[in-house]
């Protein structure tokens, strides 16, 4: 029952008078408040700040610290108040939960401190109201990420018993792990720089010998440059081979971007070694040397920023592709227009449409070299339109990339939110469980309730109290209300499994497929179906009495097993049931039962396998008085 509306329970019970003239059966006795106290104020002293509230307010949530008898541990006899040595600010939120039924998360509190307080007072955080739940989850996530980051830093601690190969790999990946790794890191960096510099300087014209024209340094000091190149390539090759050896997954390593760059960086040299003597392909060989510039990308192992840039470009690829596409469209349009506009003019440079591409690109990017200019008036008009639109079109990439940065950032958030949504589903499932738990609580307590009726016969008050202590007065009144409704309509509440069974039986043993409702019963603990509570109220005029299949409440596991057989069968006469009080005995005899005589035998009904959970079979009683329990526990 939603304890938020506990205050309206008297009204609901009063309204039940509306059912009375319609009912044909006597109503159950109302639960009495055994020690009815006038509602009193209780004082909660939290670290010196005194909070006062009605006792009833706290009793609304009996499974928390303040609502149960657990708070008696904190009762201070001298000052007649409950003292808690906790944070009073967070306690405000906790107490407001009792008052309003909604739990809020105060934004100024640290998430860990808040969680601790909640667990101290026995409140699950899932019931935080929707207004504050997002914030709570965000803070929680942030905190966990922070902890994860800290953990990652700690991860670099050297694990014992690492093989040489693993050590090497770790050294390559993270140069700070050992001195050797650091040395290696710097050496390779140095050689990359040298290699790139060599490539550049190679082409600079060095001083001339008096009789020849200027030659680039590369041709003048061929040997020197060749030695330098060889040295660099040697270093790179050795590095690549070492990485290949140390990689935990060689195949994956060979596919990675960095290794491809490595290969491309050193390959031209080897190809050049092979092909030096052939003049025909030396042209191709020269082109290959261009690839040496890829060595500069090897720096990305050394620079985090480069890696992020690369990643961004990769993820912006689709946007940039679209941009390129639209640019191409614009270029083609304007080039065509310019070509036809300039066709008439003499000695025009716009010889063909592809030739006009150059003009369009230069104009749209506002470069304006001036090597091609329109001469006709139409050409000039369209040329100016072209340059204006160019400004607009070129201005597009910047926000695209900016928005991509933020998109990448938000994607991270969204991934986390998706994770949070899964938790949202889990949260909703939990709330649903507790709600169905409430409705099952009625069914559950009916059994216990009737049990206590019987106890009044045989009674010892301790046992009574023992059973009723678990139920607050509110709950018992609510259950009494539901009981009255049952009597009015002459039907009983059943849980879903019972409903399925009786539905199936009504359908004359048809074999329906496994109903999805079973999966929806995930949340239900296996409470005992009360259709076995056949305390007969009156002959059912037309209905047959089908066998009712019950689920035994096991130790709160879900009864989804396809058992068909009944195993041990216990027949319990009531008189000896005292000893078996600890077992979950089913309904005992009615209060006006004469004696505990054993009734009839058991029927096991062949149920279709798809729908049989754990099975308790129970024969409907044949008479009014003989109501004894036949309980089957299926293992």
């Amino acid at each position: 029952m939603a304890t938020g509306v506990a205050a309206w329970l008297p009204f609901a019970r009063a309204a039940a008078i509306g059912w009375m003239p319609v009912a044909n059966l006597p109503m159950p006795i109302a639960p009495t408040e055994k020690n009815k106290r006038a509602d009193e104020l209780i004082i909660l002293n939290v670290s010196g700040r005194r909070f006062e509230t009605w006792r009833n307010t706290l009793d609304r949530y009996p499974d928390t610290l303040l609502g149960s008898s657990e708070k008696e541990f904190f009762y201070n006899e001298d000052t007649k108040e409950y003292f808690f040595d906790r944070d009073p600010d967070v306690f405000r939120a906790v107490l407001n939960f009792y008052r309003t039924g909604k739990l809020h998360y105060p934004r100024s509190e640290c998430i860990l401190a808040y969680d601790e307080e909640l667990s101290f007072f026995g409140i699950i955080p899932e019931i935080i109201g929707d207004c504050c739940y997002e914030e709570y989850k965000d803070r929680r996530r942030e905190n966990q990420e922070r902890l994860m980051d800290d953990d990652e830093d700690k991860k670099d601690a050297k694990l014992p018993n690492m093989t040489f190969r693993e050590t090497m790999w770790r050294a390559f990946e993270n140069p700070h792990t050992s001195t050797m790794a650091l040395v290696f890191y710097y050496v390779t960096g140095f050689f990359i720089a040298i290699s790139v510099l060599t490539n550049v300087v190679e082409t600079v014209p060095c001083g001339t010998t008096p009789n020849t024209k200027e030659v680039p340094c590369g041709e003048r000091y061929t040997v020197a440059f060749f030695c330098m190149d060889t040295a660099c390539v040697l270093i790179f090759t050795v590095e690549y081979l070492m990485r290949l050896f140390a990689a935990p997954s060689r195949y994956r390593f060979m596919r990675s971007v960095m290794s491809i760059i490595d290969v491309v960086a050193i390959l031209p040299y080897y190809i050049g070694l092979v092909m030096t003597n052939n003049e025909d392909v030396s042209g191709a060989f020269v082109t290959l040397r261009v690839f040496r510039v890829f060595r500069i990308f090897k720096f990305s192992r050394h620079s985090q920023g480069l890696r992020i840039l690369g990643y961004t470009l990769k993820s912006c690829a689709s946007e940039l592709g679209f941009l390129l596409f639209s640019l191409t469209m614009a270029i083609i349009i304007f080039a065509t227009v310019m070509f036809y506009a300039e066709k008439g003019s003499t000695s025009s440079k716009f010889t063909s449409i592809p030739a006009s591409f150059w003009y369009t690109i230069v104009t749209m990017t506002t470069l304006g070299y001036g090597d091609m200019v329109p001469k006709t008036i139409a050409g000039k008009i369209f040329g100016s339109i072209c340059s204006l639109s160019g400004v607009l079109v070129i201005a597009l990439p910047v926000p695209v990339i900016v928005s991509n940065f933020s998109r990448i950032y938000h994607q991270n958030q969204r991934a986390d939110k998706r994770r949070a949504q899964k938790m949202q589903k889990a949260r909703l499932a939990r709330i649903r469980i507790s709600k169905t738990g409430n409705s099952n609580a009625f069914l559950h307590s009916k059994r216990n309730g009737l049990f206590s009726d019987a106890l009044e016969l045989t009674s010892s008050t301790e046992e009574e109290q023992q059973l009723s202590k678990n139920q607050s007065l509110l709950e018992s009144q609510h259950h009494h209300l539901l009981h009255c409704l049952e009597k009015t309509t002459n039907h009983k509440f059943a849980d879903e499994q019972c409903y399925e069974q009786s539905y199936l039986e009504g359908a004359l043993h048809s074999y329906p497929s496994r109903s999805p409702s079973f999966s929806s019963q995930e949340g239900m603990t296996g409470t005992c179906c009360t259709c076995c509570s056949k305390r007969n109220h009156g002959p059912f005029p037309n209905s047959s009495m089908p066998t009712c299949l019950l689920t035994n409440p096991p130790s709160h596991t879900h009864p989804h097993h396809n058992l068909q057989e009944l195993s041990t069968i216990h027949i319990q006469p009531l008189n000896t049931s005292r000893s078996s009080l600890n077992m979950l005995v089913d309904e005992p005899a009615r209060p006006n039962c004469q004696s505990g005589t054993i009734t009839t035998a058991i029927i096991s009904s062949p149920m279709p396998p798809a729908t049989t959970p754990e099975v308790d079979a129970h024969l409907p009683p044949t008479g009014f008085a003989l109501q004894n329990v036949v309980k089957v526990s299926a293992m």
Partner: protein, 218 residues
């Protein structure tokens, strides 16, 4: 009495700002802006059979759930449904609402609430039966017809939900209504009048006993 007592504060600024809104929107605004303060404790004590302390407790609970001081039908249905998680209590709540809303203004104020409760919990058997008759007589014409009873019965059975044992068949409410009319309709004219109703109930031991059931609710 209610209309005299009721002091409705409409936030006229809000309505003015709404400008030329349609009627339904205005009504919504008005309802949401309506606040209600009940009569003083003394008057209520005179009107009902509750003492001061009980009225205090009732009002605190009432106001907690409805801070604005009035309950409209949706809130009412919502609250009532929470007590019957397995079934659909909205239809019965609708009838209950009409029974409590004596001046038919679409909302149950604290006075209505507490006067209804006073009859139900502290009234004489005659008054209670009267109240029940009023509940069943949907159109308040003084007769309970089979159709009205069938509506009420269906509403009650709806509260059970579908997971019942035995299953509620389609004609179960109708059968129950037949049973009811057999018992109550003495002159077999197809309707039950208030006198037949009260007579019959007073002769039925079960009903008499169950009427006393909720004496000690507050």
């Amino acid at each position: 009495m209610d209309s005299q007592a009721k002091r409705v504060e409409t936030i006229s600024a809000r309505l003015d700002a709404a400008g030329s809104s349609t009627d339904s929107v205005e009504d919504e605004l008005e309802l949401s802006a309506v606040r209600h303060r009940p009569e003083g404790l003394e008057q209520l004590e005179a009107l009902t059979r509750f003492n001061r302390k009980e009225l205090q407790i009732l009002y605190r609970g009432f106001k907690n759930e409805c801070p604005s001081g009035v309950v409209n039908e949706d809130t009412f249905k919502d609250i009532y449904s929470q007590f019957f998680p397995q079934g659909d209590a909205s239809k019965y709540a609708h009838f209950l609402f009409n029974a409590f809303d004596t001046n038919k203004d679409g909302s149950v104020s604290f006075e209505d609430f507490v006067m209804g409760l006073s009859i139900l919990l502290r009234g004489s058997v005659q008054e209670k039966l009267n109240w029940a008759f009023n509940l069943y007589d949907i159109n308040k014409d003084g007769y309970i017809t089979k159709e009205e009873m069938l509506d009420i019965m269906k509403a009650i059975y709806d509260m059970m939900g579908k997971c019942t044992y035995p299953l509620v068949k389609d004609d179960t409410p109708r059968q129950h209504v037949e049973l009811f009319f057999q018992k109550m309709d003495k002159n077999k004219d197809g309707v039950v009048t208030i006198d037949e109703f009260i007579d019959c109930c007073q002769n039925d031991e079960n009903i008499m006993r169950s009427m006393q059931l909720f004496e000690n609710v507050i």
